[in-house]
């Protein structure tokens, strides 16, 4: 049960082949093996949301998923979403609204916010608060983050018109 297992997956669009211990979680695999350190570890028990990534298009806590479970999936991290430009507008809104201070929660927050905006074009403020309520931020008090997500939703709506 402890012998390394071969996995093959797409990470930010690149094919990755690796031999991993069965107990290795996805967050440690991304950070330590692939050096994708934008995915952060805050609690390592699935509560703080800092390690949120997308697997097969769905947001997951990478500290609660084993690397072997990601076999044959497509994983996307903050580095991938940044390089593709998918969330450039959301990142700009965070910057302009100072929706981050220490920045440690920010990659996870962006992942979750983008997930909401893909699901719903113009979420109400309460809905944004609700969707982000599994991601802990100690610095901002959340209001700036909610504002930035709201602004991004509005701007995307305007672009569509």
């Amino acid at each position: 049960m402890t012998a390394p297992v071969a996995i093959s997956l797409l990470v930010n669009g690149e094919r990755v082949e690796a031999q991993v211990p069965p107990r290795l979680n996805l967050a440690d695999f991304l950070r330590e093996h692939l050096k994708l350190t934008g995915t952060h570890l805050g609690c390592e028990h699935g509560v703080c949301g800092a390690c949120t990534v997308r697997v097969g298009g769905e947001i997951v806590r990478s500290c609660l998923m084993l690397a072997v479970q990601a076999n044959e999936t497509a994983v996307e991290t903050i580095e991938g979403l940044s390089d593709s430009g998918e969330i450039a507008d959301l990142q700009a809104a965070f910057r302009d609204r100072n929706a981050l201070q220490c920045g440690f929660c920010t990659p996870g927050m962006l992942m979750v916010a983008q997930d909401l905006l893909r699901e719903k074009r113009m979420p109400a403020r309460d809905e944004i608060r609700e969707h982000l309520s599994g991601n802990y931020c100690r610095c901002t008090g959340y209001q700036a983050i909610i504002d930035a997500v709201e602004t991004t939703a509005r701007m995307r709506m305007e672009l569509e018109v």
Binding site: R23, R31, L36, T37, G38, T39, H40, L41, G42, C43, E44, H45, V47, C48, A50, T77, I78, E79, S82, Q91, F94, R95, D96, R97, N98, L100, Q101, C102, G103, F104, C105, T106, P107, L110, I128, R129, E130, L132, S133, G134, N135, Y136, C137, R138, C139, T140, G141, Y142, Q143, A144, I145, I146
Partner: protein
Amino acid sequence: MSSIRTNPERLSVLDRPNSYIGKTVPRPNLDRLLQGRGSYVSDLELPRMAHVVFLRSPHAHAKILSIDGAPAKQMSGVITVVTGKELAAVITPWVGVLSHLKGLKSAPQSAIAVDRVCWQGEAVAAIVATSRAAAEDAAEHVAVRYEELVAVTDMRTALEPATPIIHASLGENLAFERMHEAGAVDQAFAESDAVVEADFIFGRHTGVTLEPRSVVADWNAAEARLTIYQGTQAPHMVQNIAALHLGLRESQVRVVCKDVGGSFGIKVHIYADEMATYALAKLLRRPIKFVADRVESFNTDIHARDHRCKGKIGVKRDGTITAFEIDDLTGIGPYSMYPRTSAIEANQVVNLLGGPYTNKNYRARARVVFQNKNVMCQYRAVGHPIACSVTEGLVDLAALEIGMDPVEIRRCNLIADDAYPCASPSGLRFEQLSHHASLSKIVEMMDYQALRAEQARLRKDGIFRGIGIASFIEVTNPSAAFYGVGGARISSQDGVAVRLDAQGSVICQTSITEQGQGSESLTAQIVGSVLGVSMDRVRVVLGDTDMTPYGGGTWASRGAGIGGEAALQATKVLRQNILDVAAAILQASPAELDIVNNAVVGATDGTPRIDLNELARIVYFRPDTLPPGIQPELMATRHFVPREYPFAFTNGVQAAWVEVDTDTGFVKLLRHWVVEDCGTIINPQLVDEQIRGGVVQGLGAALFEKCIYDDRGQLTNANMADYLVPMSGEMPDIDVGHVVSPTRESELGAKGAGEAGTAGAAAAVSNAVNDALAPFGTIITEIPLTPQVILTALGKI
């Protein structure tokens, strides 16, 4: 924003064309953090780096009989197992006392426990391995035999003769006691129309920085130099302490602090496990990494606010407060923290209580006792939330007793805005505060009368909403009076060096640090404004003891006020030096020239004379073309520390609007308002966000956060599922307003803003909950206001 005092003649340096002062501009380099390209210590890897995991005591108090690390040493990936006794050969113990806190005592603390453990979570052995996972595996195979001792857990009985003494050498469990008396307290109470008393209870809580404490220590034996990569607020302090206890000169220690995942006072102390990590690097002659996991964070990051405070207030029928009296008791764990000590919070409670009011009669006692729990020390807004909750709780109780509106009683007693300078009965000196302007402003912002009408209307429908008001003062810009006078080598001055580079851009090195507050931004804004260059031409370097001037760092709301003034003064010198060179090149007089938009221009007509880029080219590459005798200095350094006032006090007021569900005991935060006065505002957005973040930390304390210990000293909720923190779903929108009274101590006029939010939030919420529950005749003076506390008070459970 309203201004209570302006100094047009003194704002000239900041009020230049294209000034960034008072403007919202995005912080430089945020894209790095937004794209996951930050550089936190937990991300750092070095060649030959090993990982340390600490085996921690499961007991709150026990003798260590034996430690057997041999089986663990045989395990795959394990480099070594080190005990406290072995590590003591490399690093000396410390005692967390300061001489200005008279009578404060503590016992020597070691990097790793030697014979005895004094709290659950104290490290007993270090396991060093090639990976953290391997070290954690091996930790389970280190056998420690303990003899359990009686744990002292209840601060209320810690001083009783029947309670065991934790440190025999100290003779008692009392660490520190302070008495203070001013005015004629007994007479004032005797002459009062009403005297009200209450016991205030505060839940022990902690900082929960999202990035846990992290260190990489790298001893390079060939250079005889230790490099410490650490998320710290005070790099020079860490340098001094590490050198002192490892037997090195300070020049042999470099502290590098890149991105920090939250600090809030948690990362301004010296922790035993961090000291052990430095020592292990020296012992093993290689880089060692320590990253606390979340359970370790709860068990070892400093806790705060574990206070029980008896309060008493006297009041006349006309609303005049006649006296305050408090008896504060706090339990700080088994050691006073190093090097800032654990007596500061209680001391602050005595200093700050009643601070906003004109009352002159004040008696206080504060006692600080040892316990077998995790250590307590300074966390954001040290002492303020306790002093504010007790003061404002008592003021509301007095108002209730005499049938006066809470806003009205504050109007009767707040120090008048034109009464400054003045001093408090505890001896604090106030340069210029604005309590009345702030109160008027918040009453208007929240539409107080309309809320009262809404409250009355909803009560008829069985909906219980309440309004809570809390005025407060905040300690900012501390001088040497905070730590230096007590013998701590913690700098209260800060330094900034600015230089023009060869393309006319500016490199600025500052000793303040960045943990997300915006230190880098405010420094660039000041340098850009004073010099006359655009912010994108200013690069700020901070967080490295090899690269920056010497200074205190960022804590106690000091970065903008002290580091900002140093930046201003250094830039003024650089500006003059540039104008002198420009005058020589242009055959003009410096007074005829100015710098605007990255170019030297005519002072009167603004005509471009020479680009800074061109000026720098001449200075650095063609000095031969300059007139004889001209030696340009395109670098300038200045330091600053306030000298006239020990602290620059700020003030403000908060208001909460809440709804209490009397069936479930849940409190819904509907809205929160803050008006505060931090003097000159460098970046309004950054100030507002400091306030909002601070408020939410205070709201966590008000409603959720508590480290729950059992009577054997076991922390029972050391994880993020059981220890509740504020999340976005429960938090309200927070409206922030300002009154501006610049300090005259500096040309910049800025005071601090980092702790105002945390200072008054819990007091406002407690008062609001009591206001909501007024129809039930219930008064609650305990936080966190959990459903259990509220339903118990309502007699429902």
